[in-house]
């Protein structure tokens, strides 16, 4: 675990912000990192000679914490001044990002920087600029990347996107409701979770889980469930291995869990439905980022429990239960990719160095209040974690047991294709809709064979 240096402690404090930036820029220059851009600009004390009217466009998802996007817009103004070019953020629905990337790459025109989720850099490798130099700088400054972030952006030995953060998912649950039925600690296994959820469903408070075509919560639940029962997409050699006892057992569990304990409307949910259902008191628990807790806290005057108390006081978080084979999770990592077709690649890199630096990222990280964590363990030591509410503390290290798509094989574009086609999610959805678990696993195996060959 990386211990923050003296500089870190000043990063989070605005009054030290300027010093901190210069410090890190000087540090990176001294280290001989091949990123000459921004430090040179600041050393010269004037805006760089980018052509007048130069504009840098960045496309990102609409953050579940609206204040994060507000902070980025604010930072864009500062960046525009520092870089001498107009920096413009555009925020779109996360489920539309892949379509946007495809359109931009095929037309050879579009945003200079696009946010990449999961392992997308593997799929879009031909359209991304090698940013290994920036990653080297980031690692030098903020320590080693989490394995999942590294695996998701490293393609053929090159880093094709710069890891920005991770949105960890934990199960948000209503503590008092679980206590009422005697579950004073959160279930440790999937089977225990099914039993507890069944009791709560009988009381009209089911577990909420999406199995829809949506980017985060559906794969965040489906992949670990398969892994934790011993299933996997491919074996270590890359050969399709999904049609196994482990996968069938996972589908069997899901089918029973769905019927006994879940809100069966979840088949049509996207990543926002469970947030709304939880905050409306319709479900007892759901796998999610910290956005439910943060929304309940920020809106505690309006979001109340059945006793009229702020709901936030009754929300607790827990890790996914363990399965018979493992206790892993899948955490969504986020990166920024510089597009090859872009005419402002150097400017894009300079901007990313600015945005990902301790000072700017630190400010954004604080606004996120634990919803987004860093891409390195460095951020586990941030002062935020000592002051944050107790139920939020679990998010600090939530990324430590995450696997990546394509497990147990190496990360690849094939795994991204499996994700993009929602094969694993649909396998479970088929099971809960009545397909025999064995047939659901066979269907997934056929789909995977078409992809992996």
């Amino acid at each position: 675990m990386t211990t923050p240096d003296h500089e870190t402690s000043t990063v989070a404090t605005p009054k030290h912000a300027g010093v901190s930036r210069r410090t890190f820029l000087a540090g990176s220059a001294a280290a001989g990192i091949a990123v000459a851009g921004l430090e040179g600009i600041l050393a010269a004390r004037r805006a760089p000679a980018y052509a007048q009217g130069t504009r840098l466009n960045i496309v990102r998802w609409v953050d579940f914490i609206p204040a994060c996007d507000v902070e980025l817009k604010r930072q864009a103004v500062d960046a525009s001044k520092a870089l001498g070019a107009e920096v413009v953020f555009e925020f779109i629905n996360a489920n539309d990002l892949q379509a946007r990337i495809t359109a931009a790459m095929q037309s050879g025109a579009g945003p200079d920087i696009i946010q990449m989720l999961h392992n997308w850099p593997h799929l879009y490798a031909n359209g991304l600029v090698d940013v290994s130099d920036l990653v080297a700088w980031q690692v030098k400054e903020q320590g080693a990347l989490y394995p999942l972030s590294e695996a998701n952006v490293k393609v053929g030995g090159k880093f094709l996107a710069l890891p920005h953060g991770i949105v960890p998912g934990l199960i948000a649950y209503r503590k008092s409701w679980f206590d009422e039925i005697g579950a004073t600690t959160f279930p440790k296994t999937y089977e225990e979770l099914r039993q507890v959820s069944a009791k709560l469903k009988k009381k009209g408070k089911p577990y909420g889980q999406t199995l829809g075509h949506t980017f985060g919560d559906a794969p965040g639940w489906a992949y670990p469930l398969m892994w934790n029962y011993g299933g996997m997409e491919v074996d270590k050699s890359g050969k399709t291995a999904i049609d196994s006892k482990g996968t069938v057992d996972a589908v069997k569990f899901m089918t029973a869990f769905w019927k006994d304990g879940c809100d069966e409307g979840g088949l049509a949910w996207d990543d926002t439905n469970n947030n709304r259902a939880f905050l409306a008191g319709e479900i007892c628990a759901t796998l999610n980022g910290a956005s439910i807790y943060i929304a309940a806290k920020r809106g505690q005057d309006k979001i109340k429990d059945e006793k009229g108390e702020p709901m936030v006081r009754d929300i607790q978080h827990a890790r996914l239960p363990a399965g018979p084979a493992a206790s892993s999770s899948y955490q969504a990592s986020f990166h920024h990719g510089v597009m090859k077709y872009g005419k402002n690649q150097k400017l894009a890199k300079d901007f990313l160095q600015w945005l990902h630096g301790k000072e700017q990222f630190g400010k954004w990280f604080q606004v996120a209040e634990g919803f987004s964590i860093g891409s390195t363990k460095f951020w586990e030591q941030h002062p935020l974690w000592s002051t944050i509410d107790e139920p939020m503390k679990g998010f600090r290290t939530a990324a430590d047991n995450s696997r990546v798509f394509g497990y147990a094989g190496a990360p690849s574009a094939k795994a991204t294709e499996v994700y993009s086609k929602y094969v694993i999610v649909d396998m479970f959805a088929k099971g809960v809709q009545g397909t025999k678990p064995e047939d659901a696993a066979k269907w997934a195996a056929e789909e995977l064979k078409k992809i992996y060959g």
Binding site: Q98, L267, S420
Partner: protein, 322 residues
């Protein structure tokens, strides 16, 4: 000649005086060039041809090329013949989408035709506020599909559906109906929304057709003792058939290639149960980046639509000839 016309403008006589008579001298090459009807036709047609070429022909040819290649996002690919079509045909999700497209188009068109006809017959009567009602009827057609479908999505919401609430409160149901979380329900919800949206197009077109039918014919039939149904079947319907067929052809084309409604309402889910060819082609081609395979899926629509349009136009021509 140009100079003469400019100088002698004012009267036909003046013009006559300065223009050379036919046969007295041969027109210059430029004159002949400018007076050529072929050239004029070419010049007038050029903008249309360019626009059609850019926005219809080029994308179509590009789509055909993509469907025969292994192009994927960022990868130029190579010619693979019919491989993408064969792969699609062997894909269980494609077959579901293919079946869904026919099912969705068939039922939505039937409902739109039946309800549109009924509405047109009602609106063809004289009543107070007739114009306001006619204008209001067009609202579903005018509101952007994405917006209206979002409203429907909220009404069918798995957790907060106002329809479920209403049915529950009025005692029709005891548990929530799985509007969008069950494949069969989801498909029928999409058909309902499509019908709601497309019905005004049928109604207004058929109404226009009804208004061309002389009231004398109806009166004559009444005098002969025909009841309402007989008047409709033997007088109105034969005269309205050509308009109806054109409207149905348009509707089939639009419904068969529908994208927005399904994309917003169900996203093709749950578990691909409501995918149409257009939404599945988008899922494969654009979201997953397999452009060749996506193009092949979308091109499966072409022969089907071609046959439907050809049969209906042939029938229409026969009607007109009779």
């Amino acid at each position: 000649m140009k100079k003469s016309i400019a100088g002698g403008s004012g009267s036909a006589a003046g013009l006559e005086a300065v223009l050379s008579h036919p046969g007295t001298s041969r027109p210059s090459g430029l004159t002949r060039f400018l007076e050529s009807e072929r050239l004029l036709a070419g010049i007038l047609l050029a903008p249309t041809v360019v626009l059609l070429g850019m926005f219809i022909a080029y994308p179509f040819v590009m789509g055909v090329w993509l469907s025969l290649s292994s192009v994927s996002v960022g990868n130029p690919g190579e010619f693979v013949g019919l491989k993408n079509f064969i792969k699609a045909w062997n894909d269980s999700i494609f077959r579901t989408a293919f079946y869904n497209t026919f099912f969705y188009t068939f039922w939505a068109t039937i409902f739109k035709l039946a309800l549109g006809m009924w509405l047109a017959l009602l609106l063809n009567r004289h009543f107070r506020g007739q114009r306001i009602v006619r204008a209001a009827m067009l609202l579903p057609f005018i509101v952007p599909t994405v917006l209206s479908t979002f409203a429907w999505r909220w009404m069918f919401d798995p957790t907060f559906s106002v329809l479920n609430w209403l049915l529950y409160q009025t005692g029709f149901i005891t548990t929530k109906l799985p509007f969008l979380s069950d494949g069969t329900y989801g498909m029928w919800c999409a058909i309902v929304v499509n019908t709601w949206r497309g019905m005004p197009f049928f109604a207004i077109s058929l109404l226009a057709g009804l208004q061309t039918i002389s009231p004398d014919l109806q009166e004559a039939a009444s005098l002969d003792g025909a009841n309402g149904w007989h008047r409709f079947w033997h007088v109105t319907w034969p005269l309205l058939k050509p308009v109806t067929l054109v409207v149905v052809v348009f509707s089939i084309i639009q419904t068969f290639s529908d994208f927005q409604l399904i994309y917003v309402l169900t996203g093709g889910g749950p578990a691909n149960a409501t995918h149409l060819l257009a939404t599945y082609a988008y899922q494969i081609g654009v979201a997953t980046g397999l452009l060749g395979e996506g193009a092949a899926i979308s091109l499966f629509m072409l022969p089907v639509l071609f046959i439907v349009v050809w049969l209906q136009l042939r029938y229409l021509r026969r009607l007109e000839g009779a």
